[in-house]
């Protein structure tokens, strides 16, 4: 991983001129279980994704990252309910589509690589068959020879020999399976690829390979990617902008340089301090004491208040609103109240 604080993002500025692909507004998601009060997994989330932009989504385990991503694609488990908000994809609100219309959007426009995707491939069907299924579904006018050629090209793109398309997932190593997933995610030329911690189950060497592959593909194909991760190094390397979540809400949202060089929310600052940085002497590494809040038992005020080093009285009573600090930098903390534009 390169040093986050000096990483250069030459195309970051230009990204802001591109058209907006995905516009998520005020999205709130609950998990409703019979014998408990609803868990507020995601609350009033706003972000945009432009063509060719890579957005990093970071936050501790359980802060609602996967829930948010599944919500965008309307793939939540039965207990998950989208209670408010809108998801505009190229101007169309995905939440207002019929199920059949949504099935058309899935994979053709937005595809997703799942967290720890070891079992994300069907064990009784060949890799090529599973990739081909997506092509046949969304590009129905191709004949079987064209589908076959496309499967080989996709596998080639991720560095898998085309003749391994007739093998089954168990004949692939973990890293190859994840690369096959990536090939499958690209099968229908989607505008957006969601990658939900695509490397968690892999060893470090393979992780690096997969990340490099994704970075190259992104540049080559001009993809928009939402990259969900714990790894701030990955964020620095790949992303244009970063959304930091805490307990289901936005803590801070800005472009990557701002997040690394001038973070304003105490949670972002703590996260960066907890991240091993080779430019600082070892030993300064700290972890944030305490645990994220339970979603069905939230504190009355700011969700980060119980762990915040800069907490004061008001934090425990009121939920801070989201302050806009400049054009593309928002954070939710009372400390920033006076700076809002």
């Amino acid at each position: 991983m390169s040093d986050p604080s000096v990483s250069s993002h030459t195309h970051a500025a230009s990204v802001n001129d591109r058209p907006v692909l995905l516009d998520v507004r005020n999205l709130s998601i609950d998990y409703v279980n019979k014998d408990a009060s609803p868990a507020q997994a995601v609350r009033e989330l706003d972000f945009t994704l432009r063509a060719g932009e890579v957005l990093g989504l970071v936050g501790e385990s359980g802060c609602g990252k996967s829930t948010l991503m599944l919500g965008l694609m309307r793939l939540l488990p039965p207990a998950g309910r989208i209670v408010d908000g809108a998801v505009y994809f190229q101007g169309r609100d995905l939440l207002a589509l019929s199920e059949a219309e949504m099935e058309d959007v899935r994979w053709k426009n937005i595809s997703i690589i799942f967290q720890g995707a070891m079992n994300a491939l069907n064990p009784v069907r060949t890799i090529g068959d599973q990739i081909g299924e997506a092509i046949r579904l969304h590009m129905p006018r191709q004949d079987s020879a064209a589908v076959d050629a496309r499967i080989r090209r996709l596998l080639d793109l991720v560095g898998i020999a085309g003749n391994r398309k007739d093998q089954y997932p168990h004949q692939y190593s973990g890293g190859m399976r994840q690369r096959a997933m990536i090939a499958m995610a690209l099968a229908c030329d989607p505008q957006i690829v969601i990658a939900d911690e695509p490397t968690t189950a892999l060893d470090v060497m393979i992780q690096a390979q997969i990340l490099e592959l994704m970075g190259n593909l992104q540049k080559e194909l001009g993809l928009s990617i939402i990259f969900v991760t714990h790894d701030l190094g990955v964020v620095a390397e790949l992303c244009d902008s970063v959304l930091v979540m805490y307990g289901g809400v936005t803590a801070e949202y800005a472009d990557v340089d701002t997040i690394y060089n001038a973070p304003r929310h105490p949670y972002t600052q703590e996260l960066l301090r907890a991240f091993p940085d080779i430019t600082r002497p070892a030993g300064k590494l700290t972890s944030i004491p305490g645990y994220p809040p339970r979603l069905d038992d939230l504190p009355p005020g700011c969700r980060f208040a119980p762990r915040c080093p800069q907490v004061f009285g008001r934090c425990r009573q009121e939920m801070p609103p989201i302050y806009r600090l400049d054009d593309k930098h928002v954070a939710s903390c009372f400390l920033l109240e006076g700076e809002s534009v």
Binding site: D104, V105, R106, N119, L121, N122, T126, E133, L137, H170
Partner: protein, 342 residues
Amino acid sequence: MRASYLLGKLAWALFTILFVICLNFFLFRVLPGDPVRSGVRDPRLTQEAQQAIRERFGLDKPVINCFESLNPVKSGPCLINPFETQFFLYVRNLLTGDLGISYHTNRPVSTMLGERLWNTILLIGAGQILAIILGMGLGILAAWKARTPIDFGALLFSLLAWSLPTFWLGIILLFAGSRYFNLPLGGMITPGVNFPGAWARVSDMLRHMLLPTLTYTIVFLGEYMLIMRSTLVDVLSEDYILTARAKGLNHFQILKDHALKNAMLPMVTIIALNLGFTVAGAVQIETVFSWPGLGGAIFEAVGRRDYPMLQGAFLLLAVSVIFANLGAELLYSVLDPRIRAE
């Protein structure tokens, strides 16, 4: 599929059959009692007549070695010709398809089993096919509508069907069917009737078949439904199903192309095992409905101490269980690529 895998399975099945043949042979030789005395049940039988019967059935020959018979154990001079033993004769006859002569009817066991076997296959084949179709259909429906009233209703019905005692269900159906629908009380065909044509004969048989088949279907349907439902519910919660949804497949495509093939794996095993036991017949059902099948034949043979008949029936049963298992394993390896590769 790899040839060595197939050959290995086949060899193992053959070995098991050989083992069963030996076991089956000795099992009946260690049973207490003299089959001639108890089988013929006529106290006035002279010694000469008894000896004649022994010779007729080969029971005068030593079982396998110096022992005249295993029970009672008695040693004698060891001048035995191994080709004159009961075991050798048994195996030799077996290879020519001769299962011996029934003590009771004096007819070849293979003929008697053959007559009964087809009746059983007819009844139980029909029942199994119906149970598989209905049970799997109901299981798929319940899994798809999991945790809804439809699922609950299907579960309740299946649990009930599964736990009903077979003979009780049979008697109730027999009673209701003959009382309200004028269905025959038992047997396979109305005796003493000259049927005007083939169709009249078939329809008479179908009327006889209806109730036992229905009983059999209900008994097995519950099991199939419960297993189908629970495996399918498990499969539907797998990651690859979420992938399939994310790919934009609709409910029906997910079920057809991703869930069912995985959910079929346990079903195949259970169906194959049940089919193996088919040959034994549904003893209870065949008894309640006086169906002239194998189950009934075995039941009667036990009462008559008709050892050759029992021995033949047991062998048939064991061989069919072994072949059903073999079939299940081969089918399994077609369905599951992970096994094929091993």
